[in-house]
Amino acid sequence: MARPRLTSLTRLFARVGVTVFGGGDPTIAILQREFYRRKWLSPEKFAIAFGIARLTPGTNVLAFCAASGWYILGSLGALAAVLAITIPASVLVVWLTRAYDLTGHYPLALSIANALVAAAVGTMVGAAVLLVRTQSSSGRWPRPIVIALGAFLLAYVLKLSPLQVIGAAAIVGFFWVES
């Protein structure tokens, strides 16, 4: 895996922090793609960061950022990742709180935000495909497809919480080991 400079890592997290709309899931989707594209984080470490972040109290995506930053550049990487993804976005949200309180609505901002959420939806579906595809070497596709589809059904149809879905996947993964 490539080891980036602290400034490059900070720049990526800051950029994602202010350009990704729609909450934590699209943020993780974008980060996952950018990590793979830059070869900063292996799929195994991404999986651990993703899974453990769901078990961490608070905002999951921030725990995910701390974990991925830690894997990439140690404690300094974790700190830089969390600060970079939250500080610019926090400044923006305070400004939006003031603006929203003063005027109520900003139709232009809402139109842009809706377009960005639409892009986030496409990104999330694309990232899900990438997650499965990068791990599905020839002849080994049933495990990724079955687990991903099962997780989708458990979360979307049976309304299980992400924590429960991750737990179920961990049990399946423990017993379904490919040679």
Binding site: V18, T19, V20, G24, D25, I30, R33, R37, P43, E44, A47, A49, G51, I52, L55, T56, G58, N60, L62, A66, V82, T86, S90, V93, V94, T97, Y100, Y106, L108, A109, L110, S111, I112, A113, A115, L116, A118, V121, G122, T123, V125, G126, A128, L130, V132, Q135, R143, P144, A148, A151, F152, L153, A155, V165, A168, A170, G173, F174, W176, V177
Partner: protein
């Protein structure tokens, strides 16, 4: 309100939840119902600002801090939001080399695939809300293709969507 108390109340709310807006009932109880330092309308504004803006939905606690105590309150809210994130580091340290075990790797890969399913399940309701016509459908489709098929930087996908959103409002 004292900033230390503000921090403790907000960090209590974030520490007792496992996703962005899950802390909302605790925040409402402490700040609106018990202490009357903000109103329901202000709390709604904080949530609305976090939904309109970028970043995680849990960022609304920064707005709550701002509404309670101005700029210093926003800083305290930000600190309360990021504090729990660092709890993950000792957990990763504990995992350490145990994560290299064959069965641990199998569990990790299963969690990864489940992550793909969870991402789809999170995208589905968002898609239902946001796809309101051919334009939004085209944005979703174009972003999907660009992310899944090409190696284009995601920044351009987001900036392109923002420009389309702006043009669709203006024309």
């Amino acid at each position: 309100m004292n900033l230390a108390v503000l921090y403790l109340l907000l960090v209590k709310a974030t520490l007792t939840s496992f996703s962005g807006l899950a802390s909302l009932p605790v925040v409402r109880t402490d700040f609106v119902v018990r202490r009357h330092v903000i109103t329901d309308r202000q709390l709604n504004t904080a949530v609305a600002a976090s939904r309109i803006g970028p970043g995680p939905l849990g960022i609304y606690v920064v707005s709550v801090g701002y509404l309670v105590a101005g700029a210093p309150g926003a800083c305290v809210g930000w600190l309360a939001m990021i504090t729990p994130a660092f709890l993950i580091i000792p957990m990763l340290r504990f995992l350490g080399t145990r994560a290299e075990h064959r069965r641990a790797r199998a569990v990790a890969s299963a969690v990864l695939f489940a992550g793909a399913g969870l991402m789809l399940s999170a995208a589905a309701p968002m898609a239902r809300d946001v796809i309101t016509g051919p334009l939004s459908l085209a944005i979703v489709a174009a972003s999907f293709v660009l992310i899944a098929v090409t190696r284009v930087d995601s920044l351009w996908v987001m900036l392109g969507a923002a420009v389309v959103g702006m043009l669709s409002f203006l024309f």
